[in-house]
Symmetry: C2
Subunit: 231 residues, 2 copies
């Protein structure tokens, strides 16, 4: 399916039929998700495909039992895992070395990533970075983030959102509907999935075939001229 | 262009040729950007298309003069504007009324959105919400965010990221390359664009035709089995 048509067709569908979603379709969409750009290619994301009936029931409850979760054939929890740069670091270093990357890139993964992503006990490293960045920033341009723990989480959340957008587009292109949900109890979802305390639940995506009660009206967007500023 | 091919083709290109980008191509990609799903359809995003030579030079400097900014034909700054729900609120209410939406939806935009998005002076409302959510949350599932100002920013950042992903895919489908940059001096970018203090710069996107030095090697992603967890 053509990109523009896919983007145009995608709507947040709040009610699904009872039709199931083939595993292949989900896998294809997940493959597309991880091809999204992400911060320094650290891939600090996790995707929990909740399949067990018991866990699904608890997840629906944590999503405040909204129809988009309750009626979904499949539920995917998109998680930002800010410490998981450690999972990819070793392999990223091997990969950049084997692909003859310029030396600074190797250094970047060996030294700079840990220096930027670690926040230290009680966020101490984070505050030290915050001070340094803002002090240096008085005199010359410098990256201001990630400084604190929350900044590192924010960067991971951003990357996970990019992947989630690819996921919903890929579901749309395959003829299935989705609903990105932010209305959930993050503490309960984290407990259910046994996430680490610094992990963040970015969204829960409901997937299925669109029911005729999937939306209640046409789409509305502000005119482009109000959100695009030519300066 | 087919969605899967587009997603597969998109890479972060760090060096562009001197070829310009037609205005139509940019406009089409911006149209696609705002069709992304976003939090409660509040559309808390702004896109600054920096065209003036002087501002562009300053923006490149704020992007630490990296090649992806320096050589870009066009630069787009994606901004999360957490207070701009006020811009869309009135029109969203009119729209839901005119499209015969269920009553709770009207109430949602009239009452709930302001109650959730306002953080009050010194973030006081934010902390009150935080306390209430976490107290109620002891007994039953409840949405935990947005509580504080930073939460409202985070939600806006997430929505803006979804739009940005549509934007880069739409550029790719039209034969142009992009680079999402997070390596910039947020304070200097905010000053340059005269943003409000609570606005957040989500990313700067460089756009142009890919140069043969655009990437230094093949793409690398972790195996899907390490980031997708079936539970």
């Amino acid at each position: 399916m053509n990109l523009f048509d896919t983007i145009n067709k995608r709507r947040s569908i709040r009610r699904f039929t009872e039709e199931t979603v083939p595993e292949d379709v989900m896998n294809k969409a997940l493959e597309m998700a991880v091809l999204a750009p992400n911060s320094s290619n650290t891939q600090t994301w996790d995707f929990y495909w909740v399949q067990s009936g018991d866990k699904k029931a608890k997840l629906v409850e944590a999503c405040l039992s909204q129809a988009a979760a309750r009626t979904a054939a499949e539920l995917l929890v998109v998680v930002a895992a800010p410490k998981s740069w450690q999972r990819s670091q070793k392999r990223l270093i091997e990969w950049v070395k084997s692909s003859n990357a310029p030396k600074p890139v190797v250094m970047y993964y060996e030294k700079l990533i840990p220096a930027m992503y670690r926040w230290g006990i009680f966020n101490i490293l984070g505050f030290v970075r915050f001070l340094i960045f803002n002090l240096v920033g008085l005199f010359r341009p410098i990256m201001r983030r990630p400084a604190t723990r929350r900044d590192v989480q924010e960067i991971a959340i951003k990357s996970a959102a990019l992947a989630a957008e690819n996921f919903v587009l890929a579901m749309t292109a395959q003829g299935y509907a989705t609903c990105m949900m932010e209305g959930f109890d993050e503490c309960r979802v984290k407990r259910l999935l046994k996430l680490k305390c610094h992990d963040r639940v970015v969204m829960v995506i409901g997937v299925g075939k669109e029911s005729d009660k999937g939306t209640w009206g046409p789409r509305y967007r502000l005119p482009l001229s109000e959100v695009v500023h030519k300066v």
